[in-house]
Symmetry: C2
Subunit: 423 residues, 2 copies
């Protein structure tokens, strides 16, 4: 029985997919936070590389992937598509379950897919130093490798709570040569003001974004990078779904449903958008502790805590929302981003909220049947797959489910340690 | 430029290779520790599954891989062969460097290659429970996945020092359902006697082997498993080199030298033996803290501390040798094993000793040029690759080097944390 569907390097997609070209109705624009007028590309250029801004505003269906980016993708791409025979047997379901294994990258997650082009375009435009924020450290690790490859300096603002509790991701970033600062930090005005008023502040992704943005705009040769939420990030991640589409063709079936966990939307959009253009249903798996698509309000909101970013039309729990400390740190973002929120509103995608215990239980079933210990984020997708597979069993339907294994859990064993006594 | 050489699942080798069929002179036999007579297969059958004992004594060149083992190999095999263009550029060497990437397995190392068949043969023979020892936890993790897959219970005796210092590997084993005991433990007579005389004992691989052996022989339906050293283990690992041979053919060159780190010999034999039959030179990279092939004495010695195992003719530092606490825990074994020691003595393989700082420095150069953070064990192989690549540069020779990346370092970040301040 064929378990893995493997593409040759020569079959790597040469273009990313931009779903905006295929939307009947365009999403509302980003707004300048001062003027409340639609944001102009030029207003983002102090913050992001020009080509990334171009992509942010582009309505072209296909965007060429530069040769240098393709070369670096080859470190781990194409990634395997896997038939989860073991999981199907464990669930005794007639559903056929496939997953795209993004955990095989050197950082153990899909984040490199956009870190590489973001570092590349900045290098081409003469930028010397990048800044970014990271929660648990997955995005920071990815940027560290990409910056090292293209010869850029990198400052990572890491949520202090994670910096203290998860020192190993910091070591990983340091190993690739990045500078990592616990956020809030003394490096920025915003950080200093926070620490003045509340010295015991443990930080949040929103605060870290504010600091990384401030650190970028205060230097001419520095730019900021973001690991999710924005359109250009979602475009880069489309490589996941474009590969998966070819691999499902090799398997001889198309999925009935595509499922991925949802934090800022990047791995979800990455696998789902290329399938949505074929009218295939997609489900975003959110944590019950931070269910913006499922229970948030659709309105304009900031992307960060300090209110430095453009206003984004999106489902949001409020930019000052502070979710509880679930282990899936990558899913603790308050907003759904412009594109996924628009698509949810238009009925093009569904969402489901999963509580942490259900997610970990699903993750263990997957680990024990397929061998791979999933990242806490990815366990949310697996939990929704289990729900769908059991529905298929009740209905006696051999439905085809595809999900994205966005990362492995080898750097999240402390999370499993907390959960194991509960079973 | 083609970076990765990928095989299809259908190209997975269907047979393991046994180098004993191709040796001009046979290695000396194992001896029964009581009688000092050559060990008979039947004397090992209380300890190991019968088919594993058959393989231990086999001189057949090829051994069929069972279908169920091939199916489980497909979770991560075939693994990629990679051209290390980034490392070549970083070293500015005319050498062409290839590596086999065994880090893509769910436990992050090559250990599953033998854990799977060991669990399988025991299951087929009606065994219900296996025992084993583990140092840092790589072998224990591999056995945990394999036992889960084939429905066997597993007791892992983990060196207490690692059990306390590296809790995450234990959590990984627990996640797959294994029982993990800090060794010395209260579970065995040997463990209890040690703790009685020295309550602060931190354990060693030799002690853990003694406990696992005792726990196996004291139950009829239990057997012991070992992750390295023995011939049947080395046979299973030949899948690495057999795949690599096909992949080097795809690349259109054969290696001049094959390099791997050396602990108990399993990853070294795995990649090197299939090439040695073509008269290709192989170098075992040992830690300077435990250089048995390079500086040990060739004689009969026990495989464990308590002296429960057969006597093995091998290069050894003495079964009571206690190497310093280097981070490459998988390389801290006192003996070279029967086959590699015989081959070293016959001049069929070379060895080189590498101190820890040189190894980590090499590992960082690799991480920063190829993206993948290597396991502390694998950094020893990389250090020898660097030596050879620099020699090739001095000589202006475009030599072809192949090494085994036996594992990634994502569960060894504490080791990098210790080393980073030194650079």
């Amino acid at each position: 029985m064929r378990k893995k569907f493997i593409l040759e390097e020569s079959e790597l997609p040469k273009r990313w997919y931009n779903i905006k070209a295929d939307l009947a109705k365009s999403p509302d624009p980003l707004l300048n936070p001062s003027t409340k007028e639609p944001l102009k590309p030029v207003e983002m250029e102090g913050l992001f590389a020009k080509e990334l801004v171009n992509q942010e505003f582009s309505n072209e269906r296909w965007i060429d992937i530069p040769e240098e980016v393709l070369e670096m993708y080859k470190i781990y791409r194409p990634t395997p598509l896997v038939r989860a025979y073991g999981l199907e047997r464990a669930l005794d379901t007639p559903a056929r379950i496939y997953f795209k294994n993004e955990s095989v990258s050197p950082v153990g997650s899909h984040k490199l897919n956009t870190a590489i082009p973001q570092a590349y375009y900045n290098k081409v435009e003469g930028i010397k130093r990048l800044t970014t924020e990271t929660g648990a450290g997955q995005w920071g690790s990815a940027m560290s490798i990409a910056c090292r490859h293209f010869g850029l300096e990198l400052d990572v603002f890491m949520v202090r709570q994670s910096y203290d509790a998860k020192p190993y991701r910091r070591v990983l970033m340091n190993s690739y040569g990045a500078s990592v600062h616990a956020s809030p930090s003394e490096k920025t005005e915003f950080g200093r003001s926070l620490l003045n008023s509340k010295p015991e502040e443990r930080g949040s992704l929103g605060i870290a974004i504010s600091e990384a943005v401030e650190a970028a705009v205060s230097h001419d040769s520095a730019r900021y990078t973001l690991g999710s939420v924005l359109d250009h990030v979602l475009i880069h991640q489309s490589i996941i779904g474009l590969e998966a589409e070819m691999q499902m063709e090799m398997a001889g079936v198309m999925p009935d449903k595509v499922i991925a966990c949802f934090g800022g939307g990047s791995n979800f959009a990455g696998i789902a958008f290329p399938f949505i253009r074929h009218n295939i249903k997609a489900i975003a798996a959110e944590p019950a502790a931070c269910p913006k698509l499922t229970r948030g309000e659709f309105r304009y909101d900031y992307g960060d805590t300090a209110g430095l970013t453009p206003l984004i039309p999106m489902f949001t729990l409020g930019h000052d929302f502070s979710p509880e400390q679930i282990h899936a740190a990558g899913l603790r973002y308050h907003g759904g981003g412009r594109l996924p929120s628009h698509m949810k509103r238009e009925g093009l995608i569904d969402s489901a909220a999963v509580d942490q215990d259900e997610a970990f239980a699903a993750g263990l079933i997957f680990a024990r049947s397929e061998g791979i210990l999933p990242a806490p984020e990815s366990t949310h997708a697996i939990a929704v797959v289990l729900r769908e597979a059991l529905k298929a069993k009740e209905a006696g339907k051999s439905e085809v489910l595809l999900f994205n294994l966005s990362g492995h859990g080898l750097l999240d064993l402390a999370a499993y340690e907390d959960f194991l006594p509960k079973i």
